[in-house]
Symmetry: D2
Subunit: 340 residues, 4 copies
């Protein structure tokens, strides 16, 4: 039986565990105010080509999204997201729990369109009664999206331009950012992202770390962000463990290297399955593969691997997701293709 | 120049002011714990045919919606509403400010459909990851809707049946309830509403009162609702003024009588304008009239009356709303029709 | 039987009702965007000697406190208040419901002391772990206090100086402001208050209006305050009724004139009761009288008037409050003194 | 230079890391729905002698406190805590951020007293205006307290009795529970705690784990607690790492064994310092030592170890905290005593 449910089924890259074991008994200052975190911050900023930004380490995606959005919005403001955005669907209302509305726009392969954001905001301010409504005051995008697709550089630039036009921050959820950067279709770099977004994060949990997300934000964007992290319950006591992981991932290009492996295996898997007559549902160039299965196919797939059921279609077909990761073994991919 | 912007442009029905003046200097206990409120509650419950319910008086619609929804939901739960529902659009995120998501479904002439609510909830619980999502735990409907349309008795019964099936409360925003009850197309009574809804309110602000909404709820539905009203800033110190108004409106059938007047004038106005070639946009049988105007018509209408601009259509046409009320003078309607 | 429970037992000053009746059927724009409100704002600003401030009208005290505090604080910040401050005790957690902690300091006759505020903030920033705590970011005072006492001009100036030193706003709850201004001991004017506070409100509910509080705030202190009022459910549809009341109260010095009447009656009442051997508990120079009663005295008082029980003391004595108001009749005061 | 700042300066007990390394590449289901978590739950419940309870794993203390309190309170309710309670002071307002007031009572060596809780609640309900106040609806205690002291069994029983009398849950913050259980003065067992508390947690972060808190709650106390954890951003994707840690700590009595080591070292340290003339400030029988230092002593201590500054006393003395942990080396304690 194979397991392709998600990209967070294994622990951490062995190099991380090695360093964790080595450092384990060294007494270290708490809350991320230590040397290892300082070093990790430096490496991340170097990789971003943006030495003037701030880096903060949090534990998981939902808490990172909620903390950032709460930090940036005033009470009457909301955040624009695609209807399929993680914050709009799968975070149990974590954003609303901080008092803010998620303002959803249609998704196109999981993505927002710059011109639709622009039109929405323009329409908002043209409305006679806009002062009785939630102000669109921030844009949230996921890169890659929840459907495994990626924004191209020109799409990102267009969205950033619209955000600047309306003077609202652009926030990128990069829980799977590594898999976006490593995609064969990616025409953007980490520097581009750091240049275009006011705040974004580099996902560790799904790309080689045990857990951890590294937030990169424009200096001074949020005063007292440390205290906001604490209030949200997102401040890890032993913060150095976050620093240690990102320091490892950002040494010798490890982050991208292991992400490329996942992409490579995902591509092999998709092509292998397509060759066997399985139909792709989303044109994901990243590590998530979406298949549209007939009931018979579904039965067959269920017999050989676990996966995530994504949607049931009106005609009775099922959309499923298979995910590879930095830890996927080539022989498992081979075996899965063969068994199907 | 005429004014048909909304149904809350005048003060209160003269009988209310008369009683207010008469009672003005009588020392009265605060916060609604007085005899006048007690009497008003009795009359409302009699009109509802539901002597075992509770009645609470609040000042305005937004605070009533937020207080009730906050009172009924646990933190992980949200409220289902039509995409055009007042709480979803025009309350500046008051519901989200209490920590809860508004889960929107498509609107059909401003209305939710029972089978779509059912399908949504069924789909929710069928989703593998529903525990990572906001639970649909309450249904919000407006009667009449924001488009002036009304739910028929059978539509209400279907929705109530679905709510009971899933064991979630049905909440009706009755800010304009009088105009719904008085509509020629209404096949439901106040008793029907009291029987079908777990909680609803009878709007005063738009139907004869200076301000005030009377919440009717199943006994014991919300423990300590009084304190929740206070916390939400919705507890009027001189609560007897709310009681006095509703006591007046529910004496001698005044509430329905004045609502019928508004309907009568609205119907005359709509027919008069249709006769002059103006196109109705929504088939509202209540006191709100929606017209679709060409740019030329818009200019003409602007010259003779104020109104509310509702929407701009892709082809350049504008949807406007004209509203009559309990206070609308027949001669003003005549004059408006003539001038157009 | 007399009734001295509170200062909000009657309706509105007759002049207000007169104007309300006169204006009742005039169609008027909603939400405070009308001419009457504009006129009232002008008069209030003239009385404040501060033509560059903003004036906003809300319905009641709790909602005003919550809206202002929520508007001014960022998520990690709290508001300093006396332990007996209304927001700390009697608003059912309305401030916490907006996500903010009330940071209480000891009260002295219901008042905060400037040097204690200063020491608290200095101590806060000196604490090694202050970034793990709620930031003191605003000062709330009531004038008069919940014990009927008043801050002197020099006390106000000291507190304002401390607020400026730490660059945090000073907010005054003036639910009973008229009775403070009219007190024989008041050495401050409305201009002083407008000069010293960043935001404060002039209470109407307890001083001649049916309901209503007029917020005066430094221009630009809170962007989009209108929308925040709406979100908090504190925006009155027929806002002109608020304007009309304040316009009346601020014409011909009515506000102060009726407040002085309450003070006059309160003074007579206190002196009369003291002459009969009743012991004052708080040295209130305003319209609230606090008496310390033995069980026998309590029985006697209960037989002739209603009042508010304030506290039970360890020795079995009871503290009660009697309140006069703009509407108190001299003959009632005479009768009460005589009966006791 | 020594480091006695806190009990969370090292990583995890070596046995934990060993197992983590061994399991690292095994594909495991997310969110704590795995076999390892199931096994850990079983062991914890066995240790609690309470097989009918639920166990949930969260990452850190602040998020655990906020999630539990938010889950248990309705909007108008607050939680009683000692004035020195962690939730009242050092969590940046995390509880208020969920909308609830922390109702503080005086602390006695960091502890609440049952009779004071009882008196507070009795006084609350005796207050005429209690419906305008925050309802005391839950009791929060820390065991050991923030001052290193512990509640005796009889103190716990008294508090539990009061909670049952008023029908409100008792919640124990056990971030350092191991050090309480291992204290020479402890006359209670884990079974006692499980019997007396409605919900409590067993701290891992400070007692041998990298991070992690195991919540034990009465079955059915909180419906949908899983979703509330998710909403609060406290759900770890790779939940099995939490299970693995607690499974290790609850195998072969490891949790208590390592806690006893910390107590042993702390006792040696305190006695050693007292012998050298240093004055203890709190009679902590656990792993935290509080010293009252003169300015000269402070200088001396600063030269040889890092520590946490706790308070500055009016006379210029400083209270500091030194903490030992499961990882403290005996030779470091020896060296510190010698150097001072």
């Amino acid at each position: 039986m194979q397991h392709f449910d998600s990209d967070y089924m294994e622990g951490a890259h062995p190099l991380i565990l090695e360093r964790l074991v080595a450092h384990n008994m060294v007494k270290t200052t708490g809350y991320g105010c230590d040397e290892i975190c300082a070093e990790a911050r430096k490496k991340i900023l170097a990789a971003c080509g943006n030495p003037d930004s701030e880096v903060h380490f949090l534990v998981g995606g939902t808490q990172t999204n909620a903390t950032i959005i709460k930090a940036l919005l005033r009470p009457h403001e909301g955040v624009i997201a695609a209807a399929t955005g993680h914050i709009a669907v799968h975070e149990s209302g974590a954003i609303e729990a901080t008092g803010h509305k998620v303002l959803t726009l249609p998704q196109h392969d999981g993505k927002l369109r710059a011109e639709e954001i622009d039109a929405y905001i323009a329409h908002f301010y043209a409305d006679e009664s806009f002062e009785h409504m939630v102000f669109p005051a921030m844009v949230y995008i996921s890169q890659p999206t929840e459907y495994g697709t990626i924004y191209s550089l020109s799409e990102l630039e267009s969205i950033a331009t619209i955000c600047r036009k309306w003077q609202i921050p652009l926030f990128m959820d990069g829980a799977r950012l590594g898999y976006g950067l490593a995609s064969a279709e990616a025409d953007f770099s980490l520097e581009d992202i750091a240049r275009l977004c006011d705040v974004f994060y580099i996902g560790g949990t799904k790309v080689g770390a045990i857990f951890g997300e590294a937030v990169v934000m424009r200096k001074g964007l949020v005063p007292r962000f440390f205290t906001l992290i604490k209030q949200q319950g997102a401040l890890l006591a032993k913060g150095w463990i976050l620093g240690l992981q990102f320091d490892t991932l950002f040494s010798d290009g490890l982050y991208l290297k292991i992400a490329r492996h996942a992409i490579c295996e995902a591509t092999r898997l998709r092509k292998g399955l397509e060759a066997k007559g399985y139909e792709s549902y989303s044109l994901s160039p990243t590590n998530q593969i979406f298949l549209r299965l007939t009931p018979q196919q579904l039965t067959k797939v269920k017999a050989v691997t676990t996966f995530t059921e994504w949607d049931r279609l009106p005609n009775g077909d099922t959309v499923i997701r298979l995910a590879t990761s930095w830890a996927t073994r080539s022989e498992d991919v081979d075996e899965l293709i063969e068994m199907l």
